[in-house]
Amino acid sequence: MSARVLVAMSGGVDSSVAAAILREQGYDVVGVAMRLAPETDARPARTRATCCSYEDFEDARRVAERMDFPFYVIDLRAEFGARVVDNFVGEYLAGRTPNPCVMCNREIKFDRLWERARALDAEFVATGHYARIKRDGAGRFHLLRAADSSKDQSYFLFSLAQDELSRTMFPLGAMTKTEVRARARALGLANAEKPDSQEICFVPEGDYARFVEQRASKLNGEIRPGKIIDLEGRALANHGGVHRFTVGQRRGLGIASGEPLYVREIRAQSGDVIVAPRAALGASGLVAREVSMVDPMTAAAGPVRAEVKIRYRHPALPATVTLDSSRGAEVRFAGGGPAVTPGQACVFYRGDEVLGGGFIDRAIEE
């Protein structure tokens, strides 16, 4: 009997090829599509480039039929709503900029899906993420960037620890997107040319502010209007709520000024949004919370030199990471620091290897 693998399928080309490859390798593949967003049925059918729609499930089902493995749609709407959507709304209301994909990976794909895998007697969970897992001679697992650096998704996976990595497969880790599409065509998969998903799957038309406003009352959350203030303390304008801003943002501030101004800090308590010229944005470091390390031994002995990525599409910057005893970490950048956005994930790399990461709590100025 070959090992059973539960493959999370979105209907997109990546997870489809991941499942197909494992099937070809002889694994006992079980495909699952996750029903996550509560708005699934109400959404117009034309809205593509999102997951969880009816057509996406059909695309995944067609792949399962073609590759001859069982496929099920599992309903995780309640968990997704409570652990990802509510968190997303709460973070915006608190003046932070959440990354729901990181949260979904941690809370849904590698937590609830894992429990489901055990219920279905599967030994492994696989996804179409672009990242690699390596096991060394000592039996330790390492999480590495994908071979295709333009597609690398290791940033979203930092919360995986030894136990999870030992039971997880990323079949696409060594492939480029071009190779994945070519493989899909060779296998005759109907979704070989399907465009990549871009926006956050549960926010209609990418309108975060509106979504947060609609969901705020459900969480007893408060929309926090306030003032846009410059570094000298001058109020430049009023605004409709701190959830409409993210650190580093330039557009849509609604102020005219000689020099371009960017959001430097969001103070949710007072409602103040502090703006500054680009040169005044950089922080010298940051404090992270909910930090986890891929291998707990990595930073046990004291500060670690690493390259730290503070947004998915940002380059990793040299820094020193010091863990504390309550799952927090202090990150000090080696050179001039970037604009730090509370709520985003910060991920510690050493070369191609993910050491760990956490969520940005606040910038360090001094």
Binding site: R4, V30, R35, D41, S53, Y54, F57, A78, R118, A119
Partner: protein, 390 residues
């Protein structure tokens, strides 16, 4: 080899039905409406099948109209009765009926009809007294399931039939889940219309019938040629009809012994499961229920997980209904019976039928108990927690 325990969704084709269909496929007869002899041969086959189906429900053959299935029969009964109902705008149904009754009624309601939906008791039974009480002189139609698909409760139809007749209302029974399992004699039941579905009793999917008592006037829903006494235009599904006829005949011959056999198998399944799964609950009454349908609420698991895990172990059962996306939705019948959403989400339907053997029941019971133990340990989320998240 998998064990199929989802006969309420559709039985495997009975050997008699399969042979009849194959014979028909090989004959290449003509259109039953044609005048030539090829047409006459086809017509004879169709009418033989009609007589076989009619015999199962004690009807005259000419009262049986072939349709594309239970859904079309229910739609024809409801829209057909309402079209000729004049000023009568009330329809009485139950909250536990099939979507092919509830959906057309919701549509008619938007058009001004008054729909009364009788709630079941906690065991999924509809009180005849409640139906009789809802009858008035503006009632056009009473449309109820004879056997409920989810929990198997049997309707006490006779008192309703008598009262409906007195009130001048048409009485429609959806017998899709009843035919071949219990006595479905239309005269004994006193109904004006009766829905039948071929694949629920071992015929092929895509075929059904509506019994229309002679003298009961309803309007056709599909217009065109004069086929099926002008009640259902279109060339009939001849191959489906002969399979349906053969399956109906086979059901009718073996009705009593088969009922006893299935009851014994179901009792053994239930006893084994209750022994092995503490806290297991049966949805539906112990009696007044078709024995083949066993609807169970499992403690400490999601029915969805059980359903998929059992499928991977080769035991095929069902849960609620599938939405357009293919996800499983909790049963509206269980919700109407007063079960919580969490209870409905932890429930599975096991339904036995003609192909079920004692060996299968023993093996399936062992597998279900084993899978329940694994799933309840692997996903330690109590039903109450799922409920709280909602």
């Amino acid at each position: 080899m998998s064990i199929y325990l989802d006969h309420n969704a559709g039985s495997p084709i009975r050997p008699e039905a399969g042979q009849a269909a194959l014979k028909m496929l090989a004959r290449s007869d003509g259109n039953p409406a044609s005048v030539h002899r090829a047409g006459q041969r086809a017509r004879r086959a169709l009418e033989d099948a009609r007589a076989q189906v009619a015999a199962l429900i004690g009807a005259e053959p000419r009262a049986v109209v072939f349709t594309s299935g239970g859904t079309e029969s229910n739609n024809l009964a409801i829209t057909g009765a309402l079209k000729l109902a004049g000023n009568r705008r009330r329809v009485i149904t139950a909250a536990i009926e099939h979507s092919s009754i509830l959906m057309p009624l919701a549509e008619l309601e938007r058009g001004g009809a008054e729909v009364v939906r009788i709630a079941p008791d906690r065991d999924g039974r509809i009180s005849p007294a409640a139906v009789v009480e809802a009858l008035n002189d503006s009632t056009a139609l009473v449309t109820l399931g004879l056997v409920n698909a989810e929990v198997g409760s049997i309707l006490d139809a006779a008192p309703i039939a008598a009262a409906a007749t007195r009130a001048g209302a048409i009485f429609h029974l959806d017998a899709a889940q009843a035919a071949g399992r219990i006595d479905t004699d239309v005269r004994a039941l006193g109904c004006d219309l009766m829905t039948l579905s071929a694949h629920k009793l071992g015929g092929a999917a895509g075929t059904g019938a509506l019994y229309i008592r002679r003298g009961c006037a309803i309007a056709p829903a599909i217009l065109g040629g004069p086929q099926e006494g002008a009640m259902r235009a279109g060339t009939p599904n001849l191959i489906g009809a002969v399979a349906f006829g053969a399956a109906a005949e086979a059901c009718g011959i073996a009705l009593e012994p088969e009922r006893a056999r299935i009851a014994a198998l179901a009792a053994s399944m239930l006893a084994r499961l209750c022994d092995e799964i503490p806290g297991l609950r049966l949805n539906g009454s112990r009696d007044g229920r078709v024995a083949n349908t066993i609807n169970l609420t499992f403690p400490q698991v999601l029915g969805e997980s059980m359903l998929f895990a059992l499928d991977l172990e080769g035991v095929e059962v069902s849960m609620g209904s599938a939405c357009a996306a293919g996800a499983v939705e909790p049963s509206h019948v269980l919700l109407a019976m007063g079960r919580s959403a969490a209870e409905a989400r932890s429930s599975l339907r096991i339904s036995l039928g003609w192909s079920t053997t004692a060996e299968e029941i023993a093996a399936a019971a062992a597998t279900i108990a084993r899978v329940w133990r694994r799933v309840s340990q692997a996903e330690p989320i109590a039903a109450a927690a799922i409920e709280a998240l909602r």
